[in-house]
Symmetry: C2
Subunit: 517 residues, 2 copies
Amino acid sequence: MNGAQALIRTLVDCGVDVCFSNPGTSEMHFVAALDTVPEMRGVLALFEGVATGAADGYARVADKPAATLLHLGPGLGNGYANLHNARRGNVPIVNVVGEHATFHKKYDAPLETDADALAGTLRGWVRRSMTPGQIGADAADAVAAAYGPPGKVATLLLPADTSWSEGGVPVSGFHRQQAAVAPDSEIAEAAKRLKAGQEAVLFIGGPATREAGLAAANRVAAATGARLLCETFPTRLERGAGVPPVTRLGYLAEMAEPQLAGAKHMVVAGTRAPVAFFAYPGRPSDFVPKGCDVQVLASPGDDVVATLEALADLVGAPAESARQAAATPPPASGPLTAEGVAATVAALLPEGAVVVDEANTSGLWLAPALAGAPRHDELTLTGGAIGIGLPLATGAAFGAPDRPIIGLEADGSAMYTPSALWTQAREGLNVTTIVYNNAAYAILRMELQRVGAAGAGPKAQRLLDLSGPVTDFATLAASMGVPGVTVQTGEDLTREFGRALAEDGPHLIEAIVPPIL
Amino acid sequence: MNGAQALIRTLVDCGVDVCFSNPGTSEMHFVAALDTVPEMRGVLALFEGVATGAADGYARVADKPAATLLHLGPGLGNGYANLHNARRGNVPIVNVVGEHATFHKKYDAPLETDADALAGTLRGWVRRSMTPGQIGADAADAVAAAYGPPGKVATLLLPADTSWSEGGVPVSGFHRQQAAVAPDSEIAEAAKRLKAGQEAVLFIGGPATREAGLAAANRVAAATGARLLCETFPTRLERGAGVPPVTRLGYLAEMAEPQLAGAKHMVVAGTRAPVAFFAYPGRPSDFVPKGCDVQVLASPGDDVVATLEALADLVGAPAESARQAAATPPPASGPLTAEGVAATVAALLPEGAVVVDEANTSGLWLAPALAGAPRHDELTLTGGAIGIGLPLATGAAFGAPDRPIIGLEADGSAMYTPSALWTQAREGLNVTTIVYNNAAYAILRMELQRVGAAGAGPKAQRLLDLSGPVTDFATLAASMGVPGVTVQTGEDLTREFGRALAEDGPHLIEAIVPPIL
């Protein structure tokens, strides 16, 4: 058994059985070894950023990591932005990066990079596996590191000769670290603070945005009168009819400030205290109001749900949480707007859907429209690096093959990693992508005003304008084997979205909408 | 004047007047400042890898750096692979990366990364500009660092408040370091070795692959009998009828070994001694034959041309170099092959074209077919990170607006950065791209055999297969506003290539060819 075979056997025996791959010469033995381990599924991506974003989407819905297979440091570079997003969302990924053979490294061949340092900037786990005898143990350690908690990007650098040499020793399991519940004294302290009622905020994120955590948090809020909010960009937010509700903190200070105004106490569970996404001249970066004290009750790597449940019991909360009532807006009619798209998606949303939201400005109406829609999971842009939506939906379809995947995508973001559509076509994935085509970086038009950038003239505006030419996303999809259609009215969107949901395989619907600015 | 204005003014006054941009919120003041400095041209790319690859292509033909504008660490990640290629080709780039405001960094907002460390792995020059008063001097230093010699990726990290704060002080010039000629003693030593005739190899690269260097090298070879070879992937190789000829060292050991067999002396000028691109089981990584001694006469940062000219004079070379005779094959007829595409390109090549070669396996026939074609520049894949061809051609069109740009592109590589086509359409660039569509990672099929990967079965083969679906590149191009056409015969290629050359603006021709394996 060579090293590559031992690696793949170890991954499979540790429960990692999908590998999103964009291989090159140095990974050819890994590729060849796939046929010797039938349980491992290799999925081809045409660009590394698709592979890493897909691994993120897979793990978010499957609750276990996928592997990637990338081609040396430059391939890691191509996958970097979406690994950044995964890191920020605490999503586990076993990130396998092929490298030059150990004896080849010193020759500084054209593709040589300092891949260890590059991977190190992801602040997860990095190891270079130097022998076939060690690769199994290294892979098991990588899986353990990926799980955390919290979840991490665990990068295993795989020299070609570690792959091809005989002497591989697979390892059949790994030690999974358990998350810790907060100490009783901390829980008691949190209870005391939250009893300040409307002057207190319970701010949740990470593992708390799934049903059990949301239920516990709602119970705490009901018993204490504290305001309940969740982080702006949750990794996976369960929501819809029957699910305990939560309001996300607004992206912009103008939105977040009123949500937090007057708070004297903030208890944080599963995330960090809220900060501004970007700095703006003359505005504070810290969203925590002046005079509000912050207690971090549980970090993303803690047992946030058990901690919240203990807190709920301590404050004498009712056993049952509030639940969201069913309510969906009617589908849009007439000329489409971003608001109309949101209404139509909500009106037609199938039970159990996974909604991938990279709609950016066009997505502002999604949260209210979908609040009372059938139960679904929402995956958001955790790290702010656009270009993850199409890959995330692709990976989610592997992680939840029986669920419909709905991707809501901005035109600007869609152009980062469009080849994810090709993988969707090849694999026949049930992904329906709606691209909001407003022919602009609308969010940047807004930000150009908000940062107070003086003197913005025609040259500046041209850099935020995606018209001239307007990308034809229906045609773009068709070029990669995904049926594409362009719609301009609510009626057309209703018909085409319904058709896409009813038919097997991927679909792309380009919705022409006016820019919000 | 704010920092952004001082930065752009400084760049322009240092001769850097094109900025390939993919901005975000933290770069909005830079964008706004563009309108205050009329000489600076901002070019929008829809993905950072397009911006960095375009900056590379620009500098290769304009002989001066362009700037980039990238969005924080993840944007740098997206641009990383093509910056790696630039680094390997010693191409100067002023790589401006917007960053969070200095006071915002500590909040570890979602897009926060260790961008300094990330940029550091490119082993060029990195500085974080902390005040508007300093940004002008920092920018001038960045331009100086980019020029080298050798050329480098100079990364200027630009906090948002450095941009937006008043107090910018532009700087009007920079000190350009001069390259050094090799010492006389080294030149004399090289002369002695090269007089071994066929037992000696003169191996050139870097600045020596332009006409003056090629002339000097040919004179040396004529006078000494030494074999003349150039590096496998030159940054910019001048060739064609009337240009002093040179043969590139083969990519594969099987090709390179006979070229170097029997050499007892190797004199290297403008590059490094040749090594294998990848390691293979049981094969040496070092291409230098056993028993051959190596003298590095001049590195890429030295004055390689003057050194070679001094060497030519010392060995009593004739004043005139050999020149390539004009000779072009007839254009292909009947069903197309990769060889037929090469012949047709050579037959129709306009004088003064820039040929961007990322055709990979399909490009094997380009070098012989184009050898005697009208004079042209060839830009190759210097760092091995595929996905640079379309951006490189895009940037070259800005660097040489009066020259036709011909991009020869493999189907696999084309899917990394396809949105370069959008920028070509927006800017009306005279770029003609021919995509060789063989529906396969043909080079990996070859490499799978060459590395001796045992047990490669259907799962492995599927990861190297780009059919199912076959991307329709003509339609892909059309979706982004570039006229696209698919051809299957030599006659059709001749007609469509001729039409593309005659018409203004970008064109894409998809040539259906059989895979070589």
